[in-house]
């Protein structure tokens, strides 16, 4: 277990590979892995159909068979996508730190600042448990309140796990819509909050806190190997945490897929029901973080006649407006500002929901 560097390099010498040869070997391994991944990924549907209708001999039209084929196809597909995307995002995020992001945002004006903050919210590593220190760290070093909010809205709302699930289950168009509209909501909501000049509703002690100018020696440059190992850590951490929810969600989705009659959802979550979008947002607020489990369910519902805008609004509300995060932020924000934050983001999500119900 103990990573003994001397022994490792000695082992490297035994192989007697020149540096270029080593790189070629790595390149070969990466390419072979990618090819194997692609081959398996491309044949999953065939395999699922073969297993259920061929090997198990179930007849087409059987409800259990339809649910089973759905699960055997979707579960490995989503997990394989998760592995690749979380690894990639982990590497990208290792190039950003909250400290670097703060330096880029300090002293920015509204508008340009909101755009930049939303984009940085996507790539900066962020955990909602450090939302409070981050908030204070931002506003006390000259990042405007509205720009800080753009960051705080984009960071949790645009989430790589949700993006993978949307891409895997709905296709790239819906994933792109989610990414684009999520960014726009973060930019506009932050801009509105900034225009309203709500600094008086930040708890007084926040601005009184003088941050020890973050003279931190923890920001050294990383080597390529360290960036790659950050990707691997992200896979261990995130995929290790969400896979049971993904499987549970797909299992429930498979049940709906097989057993719920067509068009049942059209009356409840369809385009015709105007109240479905606000209802979806309200239900979504107390639900938290398990986008991984919710999206497959939602996909199955969509198949049964729910409207895309409604579904998108539900998703964003689940991920972007979470009760625990709001409770954490209450430590630094007074109630009116919390209400404004939830209100502005909620309205943004509503607009997105209605827009897609009308347009699509």
């Amino acid at each position: 277990m103990s990573g003994d560097p001397q022994r490792a390099s000695a082992a490297g010498k035994n192989v007697r590979l020149p540096a270029a040869g080593k790189w070629l070997l790595w390149l070969f391994i990466v390419l072979a892995a990618a090819a194997a991944w692609w081959l398996v990924y491309g044949n999953l549907e065939r395999f699922a159909n073969w297993l259920v209708y061929g090997a198990l001999g179930m007849s087409a039209g059987n409800r259990l068979a339809s649910a089973l084929a759905f699960f055997v196809f979707e579960a490995p597909k989503v997990l394989m996508l998760l592995l690749v995307v979380v690894f990639g995002v982990g590497i990208v995020r290792s190039f950003f730190t909250p400290e670097r992001t703060r330096r880029m945002l300090a002293g920015r004006r509204q508008t340009a600042g909101n755009v930049l903050a939303s984009l940085l919210g996507v790539v900066t590593p962020f955990c909602s448990c450090s939302a409070v220190p981050l908030f204070i760290g931002f506003v006390t070093t000259g990042v405007p309140l509205g720009v800080t909010f753009s960051f705080l809205i984009a960071a949790p709302m645009i989430n790589e796990v949700a993006l993978v699930l949307l891409f895997g289950l709905f296709g790239w168009k819906v994933a792109g819509l989610y990414l684009g509209t999520g960014l726009v909501i973060a930019m506009v909501a932050g801009w509105v909050i900034g225009k309203l000049r709500l600094e008086r509703w930040v708890e007084g002690w926040v601005y009184a806190t003088a941050p020890a100018s973050s003279a931190v020696g923890t920001e050294g440059r990383m080597s390529l190997a360290e960036h790659v190992s950050s990707g691997r850590d992200a896979v261990k951490d995130i995929v290790g945490r969400v896979w049971p929810y993904v499987l549970a969600g797909i299992a429930v989705g498979a049940g709906i897929h097989g057993y719920v009659p067509e068009q049942l959802m059209a009356s409840i979550m369809g385009k015709g029901a105007w109240w479905s979008v606000p209802l979806a947002v309200v239900i979504g607020i107390p639900m938290y973080s398990n986008a991984a489990g919710i999206i497959p369910v939602v996909q199955a519902l969509l198949e049964k006649g729910a409207a895309l805008g409604t579904v998108l609004a539900f998703m964003m509300s689940v991920i972007g407006l979470s009760l625990p995060e709001v409770i954490i932020l209450r430590k630094v924000l007074k109630m009116p500002l919390i209400a404004t934050f939830v209100g502005v983001v909620g309205v943004g999500i509503l607009v997105v929901g209605y827009l897609f119900n009308i347009v699509l």
Partner: protein, 78 residues
């Protein structure tokens, strides 16, 4: 040696504290391990992302969940 673990009580911060104790035990080192959960104190140390680690008043890690091995390297250097 004085070690402070900074964090507001999320699962990651708990695991850092456990790893710190494990690393100290493996190195057979004695140290004061203190958990800092007060946000104002955390901010005053210039920390924006938790969990963070302070050794003898110096911030050595933030926003990371170090392994026992990484911690042992840090403690040996201190």
């Amino acid at each position: 040696m004085k070690i402070e673990v900074l964090g507001t009580g999320c699962p990651k911060c708990m695991s850092v504290e456990q790893n710190v104790k494990k690393a100290l035990a493996e190195l057979e080192l004695q140290a004061d391990v203190e958990k800092v959960t007060d946000i104002q104190q955390i901010i005053q140390k210039g920390v924006m992302s938790t969990p963070a680690l302070v050794i003898d008043g110096k911030l050595v890690l933030q926003g990371k969940n170090p392994t026992v091995e990484q911690l042992k390297e840090l403690f040996k250097g201190a």
